[in-house]
C-alpha cells in the first residue's frame, strides 16, 4: 500500500489536494431550478435543461431555456431602465461598479468553485486568473464611469446591449461585456453559454447585493435559439464572443438593422520562437499558451513556429515538459489540465485531430483519467497548408512548423484567416520589435503569452472579428457620438440634353494604380450639369475594375511603412496643388451642383487635407497601465485597404473627407465617387497625379453604388468598407462583409463643410494593436 509518510518519503508523489465544494453545491441546491434574471428579479423556472460537471458528468443544476417571451421581457426591462441609468452621474454608476468589484472579491471562493464545477477548468485558473481578472475589470470600469463626463464629453451610451458570451471563460467574458457597458450608461441583456450558466446566475445574485437598479442587468439563459432571439430583438447593439461561424451568422442577421456590432471570434494564434530565445522559458510559455484552460482559448498560442536550427532541441524539451503535466480532477489544486467543457466538444477535438494524417504526433505521457479529458498533444512537421495549421481546434493540441528567417516567420504567421493574437520569443530587442508590428493580430506578446488586463485592448483582425475590449479603445464599443447620426442625403443627378459641350472632347477615366484607366466594361453614362448641359461621359466601373483597384491598392504597401512625416508632406502637397486650382474646381462645382458655394467646398477640402496631414504624426498610440513590469503599447496601425462610398452631396469635399483620414493613417483607399456628381472626383485624380501620391494609394471609381457595393463589401482583401452614400447600402455592405468579417462603417450624413474633422474618422482608419513587452535585465 502507498500513502504512509514513510512510503511517500520515498516516492515523493503529489497527493490529492481537492478544493472543497460544499458551499458552492449548497448555493446551487438552494436555487435550482434556476429562472432568468429580469428586471432585478429571478423569474420562476420555465422549461429547463441540465448543466453538468464535465469532470464527472454529474448534473449540477437545472437551467431555464429562455424563449422569445423571456428575451422580450428582458429587453423591455433593459429599455425602461436605460434612461435613468444613463442619467445617473458617472460617480453614481462608478459606485455600483465598485460594489460589483468588491463583491466579486468577497465571493471569490464561491465563484471560483462554481466556475470549475461548471466548466471543468482547473481551480488554480478560476481562483488565480479568471476571478481576479473579473474583479479587476469592474474596478477599472468603475473608474471609466467616474471619468466619462470629463474625459468622453462627446460620447453617449448606445442604449440596450445584447451580449452573448462563450463557455470558455464564463464569468470573465461576462465581466468584459457588462463592465464597460454599464460604465458608459447602457443596460444589458446577457446570455451565458448553455453549458456554463452558473456563474452568470451567481452574478445576478451579486447584482442585487451591489444595488444594481432593476433592469440594468438582465440575464437570460438558454441555447443558441435564445441567442438568436436576442440578436433579433429591439436592441441597439450586439456584442458576441464565440465561434467565427456564429459571428458570421450574427453579422448577416444584423445587416442593415443599424445595430452596432462587435465580434470577438476564433483564432489560430502563432507562437514564434527565434533561436536566440530563452528556450526553457519559451517552452514553459507554451504551457500557458495552449495548455491553459485545456486549450479552449480563442487566443491560444496554437501554432508553434520555431526556427529551424533549434527545432529539434525545442521539440525535445517541449515533449519532456508535456510529459510532466498533470491532468485530472479540475478541483485538485495541483492539476495543470482539467476536463474538456463537454463531451460534444471532446468529440469535435477528436474528429479534427484524427483527420490529420501527416506529422509526428506526441501525446503527453501523463495519466489521463477516463471521462471528458483530452491529453496534451503536439504535432510537429506540419506545413502551413495542412488543415490543422489552419483550423482552430480549441483543445490542448499544438501544431508546429519551422522557419528560417524573420521574414519567413512573419509570412508563415500571417498565413491564416485569423488575426487575434501572437507571441514572439527572442532575446534580441531588434528582432522582437521588428516582428511585432508586422504580425496580423490585435494582440502581440513579446516573450510571453496570454497576458490580459482591463487597461489593455483585446480583440482581433481578419476573421477573428472586430472591436476591442478593455482600455479606452474598448469604450468605443459601448458608446456613440453624442451628436445623433442623420441619414445620408440623397441627391439625384441632373438631367439634360445630349448636345455636345464646347471645346475638345474630354475623356474622364477611372483612376487605378496611379494611372487613368478606361472602365473594363467599356460603358459610360452621361453626366449633366445643373443647367442640363452635357458635362461628360462618366465611366461605369464593374467588378473587374474593383478587382484591379484593390490589387493596385494592395501593392502600394510602401505607403503604410512610409514615415508619418513623409505621408504628411504628400498630403500637404495635395492641398497645395488643389489650392492652386481652387477657382477652376469651385466653378466646376457650382456648375455641376447648381449651388454657389463651390469656393467654400474647395477651401474646406484644402483645410481637411491640412487637418489630416497634421494628424499623420499626431494620432499617437498609448502605453496602457497594465500590472506588469514592462510596456503594453497600444499601437495605431492602418487597417489596410479601405473601400469608401462617397456622399452624394459635396462631390469634392466628401471624397477628400474620406480619403484624407484613411491615407493619413497609412491605409490605401478605393473610393467610389459621388453618385450625383462624380466628375470632380475624376478631375481630382489629376491633382493626385501631380502631388507625389504613390500609385495605388488612392484609387477612384465611378459608377452605380448599389451595383458595386456587393463586390466591394465581399472582396476578401479589403479591411474595411465605409459608406456615406445616399444609396441605402447598409444591408448589402454588412451582408457582404460577413464573409471575411470586414469592418464596416455606415456613416450617415453630416454637414461636410463644418463636420468630418472628428476623431471618429481616425479611429475608423486604424486598428489598435496591443504589444505587450515585459522586460527585466
Amino acid at each position: 500500500m502507498s500513502g504512509t509518510v514513510k512510503e511517500i518519503f520515498e516516492s515523493m508523489d503529489y497527493g490529492p489536494a481537492p478544493e472543497a465544494t460544499d458551499d458552492a453545491l449548497a448555493w446551487i441546491a438552494a436555487r435550482t431550478p434556476f429562472g432568468h434574471y429580469i428586471d432585478g428579479k429571478m423569474t420562476s423556472a420555465g422549461t429547463t435543461f441540465a448543466t453538468c460537471n464535465p469532470a464527472t458528468g454529474a448534473e449540477l443544476a437545472q437551467i431555464s431555456q429562455g424563449g422569445d417571451g423571456d428575451v422580450a421581457r428582458a429587453v423591455t426591462a433593459a429599455r425602461n431602465a436605460q434612461p435613468a441609468w444613463a442619467a445617473q452621474s458617472g460617480h453614481e454608476r462608478a459606485r455600483v461598479l465598485y460594489a460589483l468589484a468588491r463583491l466579486v472579491q468577497k465571493h471569490a471562493r464561491l465563484l471560483a468553485v462554481l466556475e470549475t464545477l461548471d466548466n471543468g477548468k482547473p481551480i488554480r485558473e478560476s481562483r488565480d486568473i479568471d476571478i481576479p481578472l473579473v474583479a479587476r475589470h469592474f474596478y477599472y470600469h468603475a473608474g471609466m464611469a467616474q471619468l466619462m463626463t470629463s474625459e468622453l464629453p462627446d460620447r453617449a451610451p448606445l442604449g440596450v446591449c445584447g451580449q452573448i458570451i462563450p463557455w470558455n471563460f464564463p464569468l470573465l467574458m461576462l465581466a468584459w461585456k457588462v463592465a464597460p457597458a454599464l460604465a458608459m450608461g447602457n443596460t444589458v441583456v446577457l446570455k451565458p453559454a448553455e453549458w456554463t450558466s452558473l456563474t452568470a446566475l451567481c452574478f445576478a445574485w451579486i447584482c442585487d447585493q451591489a444595488g444594481v437598479p432593476p433592469g440594468v442587468v438582465n440575464i437570460v439563459t438558454g441555447d443558441g435559439t435564445t441567442g438568436a432571439a436576442i440578436v433579433d430583438a429591439e436592441v441597439d447593439k450586439i456584442a458576441f464572443t464565440g465561434s467565427t461561424d456564429v459571428g458570421r451568422h450574427i453579422r448577416k442577421a444584423t445587416a442593415g438593422s443599424g445595430k452596432a456590432l462587435t465580434l470577438e471570434l476564433g483564432g489560430k494564434s502563432p507562437y514564434i520562437v527565434f533561436e536566440d530565445a530563452d528556450i526553457d522559458s519559451a517552452v514553459e510559455g507554451l504551457v500557458d499558451a495552449i495548455w491553459f484552460n485545456q486549450g479552449q482559448v480563442c487566443c491560444a498560442g496554437s501554432r508553434l513556429i520555431v526556427q529551424e536550427g533549434i527545432a529539434k532541441t525545442f521539440y525535445a524539451r517541449l515533449r519532456r515538459r508535456m510529459d510532466g503535466l498533470r491532468i485530472g480532477n479540475p478541483l485538485d489544486k495541483a492539476i495543470d489540465i482539467g476536463a474538456v467543457v463537454n463531451p460534444e466538444h471532446l468529440a469535435r477535438i477528436h474528429a479534427l485531430v484524427d483527420g490529420q494524417t501527416t506529422g509526428d504526433v506526441h501525446v503527453a505521457a501523463c495519466d489521463v483519467p477516463d471521462g471528458c479529458y483530452y491529453p496534451p498533444t503536439l504535432i510537429t512537421g506540419l506545413a502551413p497548408a495542412d488543415q490543422l495549421m489552419q483550423e482552430e481546434i480549441f483543445g490542448p493540441v499544438l501544431v508546429a512548423t519551422t522557419f528560417r528567417t524573420p521574414s519567413e516567420a512573419m509570412q508563415i504567421a500571417n498565413s491564416t484567416r485569423y488575426g487575434l493574437a501572437a507571441s514572439v520569443w527572442s532575446e534580441n530587442i531588434n528582432t522582437a520589435l521588428d516582428i511585432a508590428p508586422k504580425l496580423v493580430a490585435g494582440v502581440v506578446w513579446v516573450n510571453g503569452t496570454n497576458m490580459f488586463d482591463a487597461a489593455a485592448g483585446f480583440g482581433g483582425m481578419r476573421e477573428s472579428g472586430f472591436g476591442r475590449e478593455g482600455g479606452w479603445e474598448g469604450l468605443r464599443a459601448y458608446t456613440r457620438s453624442a451628436t445623433p447620426a442623420t441619414p445620408a442625403p440623397v441627391v439625384a443627378p441632373f438631367d439634360g440634353n445630349d448636345s455636345a459641350p464646347l471645346g475638345v472632347d474630354r475623356t474622364p477615366k477611372l483612376y487605378i494604380g496611379g494611372k487613368q484607366a478606361r472602365p473594363d466594361g467599356g460603358q459610360s453614362r452621361l453626366a449633366y450639369d445643373a443647367h442640363g448641359t452635357l458635362a461628360g461621359q462618366i465611366p461605369l466601373a464593374n467588378r473587374k475594375d474593383i478587382r484591379n483597384a484593390v490589387e493596385a491598392a494592395q501593392k502600394a504597401t510602401g505607403w503604410a511603412s512610409a514615415s508619418a512625416h513623409n505621408r504628411a508632406q504628400v498630403m500637404y502637397y495635395i492641398g497645395e496643388n488643389l489650392s492652386a486650382r481652387a477657382d477652376e474646381f469651385a466653378a466646376r462645382l457650382d456648375a455641376m451642383t447648381g449651388r454657389d458655394d463651390g469656393k467654400d467646398e474647395v477651401t474646406a477640402a484644402v483645410e481637411r487635407l491640412f487637418t489630416y496631414a497634421a494628424w499623420c504624426d499626431k494620432f499617437d498610440g498609448r502605453v496602457a497601465n497594465v500590472p506588469i513590469r514592462g510596456l503594453a503599447v497600444a499601437l495605431h496601425e492602418p487597417c489596410g485597404v479601405i473601400a469608401g462610398f462617397c456622399p452624394d452631396d459635396r462631390p469634392l469635399l466628401g471624397l477628400v473627407s474620406l480619403m484624407a483620414p484613411a491615407i493619413a493613417m497609412g491605409n490605401r483607399v478605393v473610393l467610389v465617387a459621388s453618385r450625383s456628381v462624380p466628375l470632380p472626383a475624376l478631375e481630382f485624380a489629376q491633382v493626385l497625379e501631380t502631388s507625389d501620391v504613390p500609385g495605388g494609394v488612392v484609387n477612384i471609381l465611378t459608377g452605380n453604388h448599389a451595383e458595386l457595393a456587393p463586390a466591394l463589401a465581399s472582396h476578401m482583401d479589403i479591411a474595411a468598407v465605409w459608406s456615406f452614400s445616399g444609396a441605402d447600402l447598409a444591408t448589402v455592405i454588412e451582408m457582404g462583409a460577413a464573409r471575411t468579417l470586414t469592418r464596416t462603417w455606415i456613416g450617415g450624413g453630416r454637414d461636410w463643410l463644418s463636420g468630418g474633422n472628428d476623431q471618429e474618422f481616425l479611429e475608423a482608419a486604424t486598428e489598435v494593436k496591443t504589444v505587450w513587452v515585459p522586460y527585466g535585465a
Partner: protein, 333 residues
C-alpha cells in the same frame, strides 16, 4: 544520544553523494554552449510566481515531503562566534532533527539532516560530534564568503579542510571573473578547486546576488559544471539577496541541460533565506517538476539553512497532533 541515532549509520549512508551517483568529471570549456544560454527574467519570474499556486501538497503528503526536506538540509552555522560547544549542539540537532516521539509517529525514526556545514576551524568538533552518524561535514572554503584571499591560500584551505575530515567543500567563485566575462579564468579556478578537493565533493557557490543578471547566473552555472562541480549553490548567505525561486529556476535548468548533454547529474543547493516549511515545499515542487524525482535526494539536493528546521518541526507536530505547535516544544540546535 538516543538509541535510534546510533543505529542510523546503515540507512543514512545512502545520502552520501559518493555512494550513489558517478561524479561529474567535468569537460572542456565549451564557450559556444555558454554563450548560447539565455535567461528571460520576466518569463522566469512568471514561472516562479505561479508555481506555488500550481502545486499543493497536503496532509500525509505534506508531512512526508517535509521529512524529505529535513533529510536534505545542510544544517549550518557560519558565525564569527562559533565555538566547539556551539557546533556540538548543532551536530546533536542534526542527528536528531525532530523530537523522537514525532519521528516514531511518522515512522521515520532514523531521519537526520543531510550534512552539517561549518567553517574550517569547526570541522574537527563537528566530525567528532557526528562520529558514527554517517552525516557528512561540509566546510565553507576558499576565503568564504568573499573569496578574495590569495589564490594559493584558497587552494591550501581546501586541502586543509579535506585533511581535517570535511567530505564536502563549499567553495566561492571569484565573482569578478563573471562580472568581467573572464569565463576562462572562472573555469580554471573551478578546475583547481575541484582538483584540490580530491575525493571530497565540491559545491560551487555562485553568490548569485552579486552576479547582476539571471543570464550570468545561467552562464556561471554551466562553466562551473564544465569544470567539474558536484553541486552548484546559490549563495553564501552573506549577500544581500540569497536563494530565490527565479535564480533556482535558472540554475536547475542549467543542471538539466548539462545532464541531457553529458549524462552527469549535478546537485543543487539553494542557500539563505529559506526559513519556512511552505517555502521548502515550493522548492521541492520546483525541483520535482523541472529536474525530476531523482534530484529529490540529499545526494543531489540540499537546503542551506539554519532556521528552516524549526518551522518544519512545528508543522510536523501539527500533522501528528492536529494542533498548532510552539517553538519551545522542540529542542534547539
Amino acid at each position: 544520544m538516543t538509541a535510534h541515532t546510533q543505529d542510523a549509520t546503515a540507512t543514512t549512508t545512502a545520502h552520501l553523494p559518493q555512494t550513489v551517483e558517478p561524479r561529474n568529471p567535468g569537460q572542456g570549456l565549451d564557450m559556444d554552449w555558454v554563450m548560447r544560454t539565455q535567461a528571460n527574467r520576466s518569463a522566469i519570474e512568471r514561472r516562479a510566481v505561479t508555481l506555488p499556486g500550481r502545486r499543493s501538497v497536503k496532509k500525509t503528503y505534506q508531512a512526508a515531503w517535509l521529512a524529505r526536506a529535513i533529510s536534505c538540509i545542510d544544517l549550518t552555522t557560519l558565525a564569527g562566534d562559533d565555538t566547539d560547544g556551539r557546533v556540538r549542539r548543532l551536530c546533536a540537532k542534526g542527528r536528531a532533527p525532530v523530537r523522537p516521539d514525532l519521528l516514531r509517529a511518522l515512522d521515520l525514526p532514523d531521519l537526520t539532516v543531510g550534512a552539517i556545514c561549518v567553517y574550517h576551524d569547526m570541522i574537527a568538533p563537528a566530525v567528532s560530534a557526528l562520529q558514527g552518524s554517517g552525516i557528512p561535514v561540509a566546510a565553507v572554503s576558499t576565503g568564504f564568503p568573499a573569496g578574495l584571499s590569495p589564490f594559493h591560500l584558497r587552494i591550501a584551505e581546501i586541502e586543509q579542510s579535506v585533511k581535517a575530515g570535511a567530505s564536502e567543500i563549499d567553495i566561492v567563485i571569484s565573482r569578478r571573473h563573471v562580472l568581467t566575462r573572464n569565463w576562462q579564468a572562472l573555469f580554471e579556478e573551478m578546475r583547481a578547486f575541484r582538483a584540490a578537493c580530491g575525493t571530497a565533493h565540491v559545491k560551487a557557490i555562485l553568490a548569485t546576488g552579486e552576479l547582476g543578471t539571471l543570464q550570468d547566473v545561467g552562464r556561471a552555472s554551466l562553466v562551473c559544471m564544465m569544470a567539474g562541480a558536484d553541486f552548484i549553490k546559490t549563495s553564501t548567505g552573506k549577500e544581500p539577496i540569497n536563494a530565490t525561486l527565479p535564480v533556482t529556476l535558472v540554475m536547475i535548468r542549467a543542471i538539466r541541460e548539462y545532464y541531457e548533454a553529458t549524462g552527469y547529474r549535478v546537485g543543487y543547493k539553494p542557500a539563505g533565506g529559506i526559513s519556512k516549511a511552505k517555502d521548502a515545499l515550493v522548492y521541492l515542487s520546483m525541483i520535482k517538476d523541472e529536474l525530476g524525482d531523482r534530484w529529490l535526494r540529499p545526494d543531489l539536493f540540499r537546503f542551506g539553512a539554519s532556521s528552516l528546521l524549526g518551522d518544519i518541526e512545528r508543522q510536523l507536530e501539527h500533522h501528528v497532533t492536529g494542533a498548532y505547535s510552539a517553538a519551545w516544544r522542540h529542542g534547539i540546535g
